[in-house]
Symmetry: C2
Subunit: 195 residues, 2 copies
Amino acid sequence: MESIDKLIANFNKLPGIGIKSAQRLAYHVISMSTADVNALAEALRDVKQRIHFCPICGNYTEDEVCEICANPKRSSETICVVKDARDVSFMERMREYGGRYHVLGGVLSPMDGVGPDKLRIAELLKRVKDEGVKEVILATNPDVEGEATASYIAKLLHDLPVRVTRIAHGIPIGGNLEFVDEMTLFKAIENRREL
Amino acid sequence: MESIDKLIANFNKLPGIGIKSAQRLAYHVISMSTADVNALAEALRDVKQRIHFCPICGNYTEDEVCEICANPKRSSETICVVKDARDVSFMERMREYGGRYHVLGGVLSPMDGVGPDKLRIAELLKRVKDEGVKEVILATNPDVEGEATASYIAKLLHDLPVRVTRIAHGIPIGGNLEFVDEMTLFKAIENRREL
């Protein structure tokens, strides 16, 4: 049946959905109510049509400016720099950070041809100069590319009157020495603090 | 963001998609091309609008009669009885069976109030009488309800001039047609036994 094969192929394109899962989902759709199927189809189109990048910070938004940039209660003195727009929602789960964000749209990766001009680094420098920013927290992932990107941005900000910090790396809360990789252990020892 | 929350909720309703997977899928949709998102939305609607049950065998179809019932090369002398329309596609993966199917639309389950009148058993008896059927292969799952349903149908067919067989227990007890490999299915058909 053409329609079910097409739906299976479309589900199979999604990340983490293998061919078996795609088949199971497609057959499930037949047994769903028409209202539920239409709701899912509409939600897909809606997300794609309504969500775009905030022109200030690069976060996802449905409005002209994202809800964090538009919120006067968020301090404009601190900017947390992250790789992707998704990372903003991960950070926000913490509910403790009261500053703003800046989404780079990736990390430096010479192998993939991603240089500084492909990232929103110039926009970050402009914001630091224009918005009276006092601290830039570099929150790229603690992998090779994330570290390189953080170092690169730190160097660029060096001559500006702004504090530049890096999120701490160490053993996760509830973590276990046995299951932590060597690099994390090394960072945990290196960043040890007085008690 | 309302639209992303709605999409996450809709993904989360699908079987096997937890909240974390739903979030990952929803954010992935933002990064998909508009054409791909529209193709998925259209495929969902299409499946729901175009697929219905074949009036003869109960299989899924987009046409008036399913492609197996409409195929003159498929022998009408053998009917393979399965629980769900999905089971037809599982059996067809084998590519060895040349007969037709009859979908019961469930199995006998007194606990859930499913008696013989809720299943397409009367339709099966009518087909056996009208279509010159020589063999009925009972291919319900080898679990308690599947066995009970097979026994019940075998008893009903006992006085008719038709051979009644049961797929062999090559399929693990408690197993499910969906997760059985093609070779096991082939053996199960090959070693079918009289009831």
